[in-house]
Subunit: 315 residues, 2 copies
Amino acid sequence: MKGYLALDVGGTKVAAGVVTGDGAVLSRLRIPTRDLRIGGNPLARLIVLGQEALDAAGGRPPAGVGITLPGPVDRRELRMRAAPTIPEFEGLPLAGALEDAFGCPAAGDNDANGCALAEARFGAGRGYSHVVYLTVSTGIGGGIVVDGRVFRGAAGASGEFGHQVLLPEGGPLCDCGNTGCLEALASGRGIAARARLAQANAPEGTAPRWSRADLTAEVVAEAARAGDLLALRVWQETALYLGLGIANAINILDPDVVVLGGGVATGAADLLFPSLREVVSRRCMPSLRRSVPILPTALGADVGLIGAACLAMET
Amino acid sequence: MKGYLALDVGGTKVAAGVVTGDGAVLSRLRIPTRDLRIGGNPLARLIVLGQEALDAAGGRPPAGVGITLPGPVDRRELRMRAAPTIPEFEGLPLAGALEDAFGCPAAGDNDANGCALAEARFGAGRGYSHVVYLTVSTGIGGGIVVDGRVFRGAAGASGEFGHQVLLPEGGPLCDCGNTGCLEALASGRGIAARARLAQANAPEGTAPRWSRADLTAEVVAEAARAGDLLALRVWQETALYLGLGIANAINILDPDVVVLGGGVATGAADLLFPSLREVVSRRCMPSLRRSVPILPTALGADVGLIGAACLAMET
């Protein structure tokens, strides 16, 4: 069985591992992203990590190396077009260095497309030909996989489900500069911001005593599970917004399945999935409502590594 | 040059013609849809019309026959799954009858996908690889063409741009049963309904004296061109809703070009295009804003015929 070297570079963590052609993870190593900077050459450190992952899996040369990156990627040279969380990589062509270091072809893409491919091939989307993948964490991203390949659009920028405008007038400001985007409403930060606002507007004595500075989606989820009505309403609204975003994606793309991942969606699956499915079944085109399953991710923490390997297999 | 027999069946008009492989229309005949019923067998009458179109182009046997239909189509047997405007065709398999009558392969799809293909191959989308087509008339439909082929989704129901929900809470009721859809807001009927509402809510003496019963998007367009402020506001809102719908489609699909057709968009192009382009450039993901041109259709009244021929060429 051929092994692919997978590099999953995130804003906070970096993983390297060897993944087989059928999606089995033979080795995995993880370090904080900031540790890439030790020694002053993040790319050189990443290559060392990759070599360690190969050694841990028996040392055989890889059939390919795949990398997922936390931002938009020019795929030809594996050059990040913007890299706010790892500015050392912005504009740096990675393909040549990786190919030289590991003696095999290199491929890569942004993390959302990698995860979409991983879930479509080996995760919750396995067996479906048209897969829409959404990730809800700090932001909201996504990817589209058709017949085992990422549908990338004209400039490799498709699947920006998080930047659908759901509130035409007003709505919170989004990082993209727009207002009323799904991401500004239903990402981890969006949820925290709405909870903060709800707290501020609640009548004296009725709001939970959240510390406004530390307020996260997780804190709001705990409060909802403890029965706090304001927190429950925040999650209900979140399910409405995510459900509408998913319904719109279904109306446009007509997928077989929608897979929902990311820290926020996974961590609050109990609060989100039932109401979200209800919203989709009510707000989607009747002919499309039929039975598009909305499933949680199935690959857990390995999704990024498997996604990186899938990108290497795709070439 | 091979000729394709094209049949464009609409809710009010039916056209038949011969179209060459490079999109030139060699013959065209048009009758009202209700005249298909004369004689009691609409399919037989349609076949006669097709034969007349072939005769008018010189009588050579066609390389294929293509048909566009006003509703969702099961493409294998060319069976309309729903046909509100031509109930005689609902559930009737057309492929066998057309193949037998004309001695060539038959292909077809709903009209939006046909028009999308025609504009992508021979119209405003020519030379672009990823084309999004929206039609704004009585309703709002659309199609997606990638590398010269319709992107149909899992069940042939992609491109329902009109049923994006733009108003999460409230908003007018849509024909699909949902509320707040783009179609309910910005189709011909949606525009007339909003104008009627604006008229009803305007202070005494300030609203134009439209007859509420006959109010159409065209009447509102004429009033706007004459400087009526209420009508101008209705068109500005229409451009906002359509612009957001197009921005969302760009965010999800990342096309090279958006082509906008249909009676309402074409008839009020002067009122729509400038503000609509401004909305898209303001409300799209910054990385996608770049320069997606938003163009009016280029094929005029022949778009349906050329679309039907394109479907025949696609097989």
